[in-house]
Symmetry: C2
Subunit: 277 residues, 2 copies
């Protein structure tokens, strides 16, 4: 691996550039992003140079797509015509099925491996990039067949993830989207709905809210800019997760009346404890 092209040099893309260099990558790192971002990313040392997608794709033996999901989908539409045959294209999008499908449909020129680093941060943009962003975090890969992991270019990429200190977990694209619908998208919707309900309280009442309400509305601070693509590309699975959540709340409403909530609290506390292991 001599030349890496990072398409979308934000928090994740910038962190990839920094992580590669910190762990010994001595090749060239090309960024594809807006002029302003390229300047900031060069300043921070996350990339060596900026280029157009055409230039970067023609030079790279690894292409890392770290744009928003809709940007990744748009890039995949034209990438097949631009890349050298046999290279690895991977991505960092928060949903996987539509991206993997698009990659499969649009090209057989390159190997595509879907990825999702579970390595968020409150701050966004290349300014928040961090060479250790992936360290001790889960990095999900979504091969469609496990044999994909034996492709030489993939093995090289896996070795770099290992050097970053990431813990690789493999799931099918469907399993991935199903899982994050519950562990990420549903918590977001639950928090947004709760904050939207609290929005209707008189202003002076909000002031008595304690740390519980603060915790439960932190995700609600998220901008819809990020969530539009995520929810839009995982709509049916999130819809189902919401239905399951509403059913549970309805059941608990019933148990509240009959004073039999102890079992719900017990099961919930057990799961919350397991989540923290």
């Amino acid at each position: 691996m001599e030349t890496v092209a990072i398409v979308g040099v934000g928090l994740i893309g910038g962190s990839l550039g920094l992580a590669l260099q910190k762990t010994g990558f001595s090749g060239r790192i090309i960024g594809v992003s807006s002029e302003r971002t390229i300047a900031a990313a060069r300043e921070l040392g996350a990339i060596h140079e900026g280029a157009t997608l055409e230039e970067a794709a023609a030079a790279a033996d690894l292409i890392y797509l770290a744009q928003p999901i809709s940007g990744i989908l748009a890039t995949l539409d034209c990438l097949g015509a631009l890349v050298r045959p046999g290279i690895l294209v991977t991505d960092a999008g928060s949903t996987k099925l539509q991206i993997v499908r698009k990659a499969t449909e649009t090209s057989r020129v390159y190997h595509f491996l879907g990825g999702h680093p579970m390595a968020g941060k409150e701050a966004r943009g290349v300014e928040a990039a961090d060479a250790d962003l992936f360290r001790d975090r889960t990095y999900i890969l979504t091969p469609q067949r496990s044999a994909e992991l034996d492709i030489p270019a993939v093995k090289v990429f896996l070795a770099w993830l290992g050097k970053f200190g990431a813990t690789v977990v493999t799931l099918s694209p469907e399993e991935h989207d199903q899982t994050v619908a519950y562990t990420s998208h549903l918590p977001q919707m639950a928090s947004t709905a709760l904050a939207a309900v609290l929005a209707s309280l008189p202003a002076d009442r909000l002031s008595v809210a304690g740390p519980g309400a603060i915790d439960m509305t932190r995700l609600a601070l998220s901008s819809f800019d990020i969530w539009r693509d995520i929810l839009g590309t995982n709509r049916d699975v999130v819809d189902h997760a919401l239905a399951v959540y509403i059913d549970k709340l309805t059941e608990m409403r019933h148990n509240l009346q009959t004073q039999r909530l102890d079992k719900d609290f017990e099961i919930a506390a057990e799961a919350a404890t397991r989540l923290r292991r």
Copy 2:
């Protein structure tokens, strides 16, 4: 105010004893609790001595009820016969309407003023007591008529709350229970329901959960021991808050399908921001 009786010397009761002494109270502080707790509370300096409820009530010119709600209700059943006329009885229960009603129904011998310090901590018990627990925290008082706040014994108590550094907010008992149903009890139910839904995921899937799921399930770690009384004494209001939450989630489910969630996210982010002021 020369003698204070603290009934239930746990986190809140113990902190009251420590806060009084830290801010210059030179009178006697009597604790009413289990033998084990009295020993621990004396060791920590939260109280001077232990006594039975009868002894403590006969000696005190302020009685502070800091038991679980059901304990407070039981104590109020017999307190009228035990106290000196005209003293102040106040409490720290997490719901107020049933407690204030019980106090009004059972005695006209003492003044009763409902209270609710918004000063929780993860840890419980007198071992976690803290002289600064009330500092910079909201302390809700629930007089039934505002004239109650002019009663001399109440004014003395208010002055101590001021010395503790607490911010006093007054609400009617109904307003209090309505408010905490949304700002405290609903967040708890939302967290418990979410964790109960996550409980049904395969174990290895939970491991990919990020910080969002962790935040949203912290409250779900709470023991039902605390919540049984709270939810049991605020059932109808919490039921209504749950219905409002379920309606909002149902509406968001619809907006997910029609791709019009932007408004929900905007309103929610605004409320979450206001909560943090």
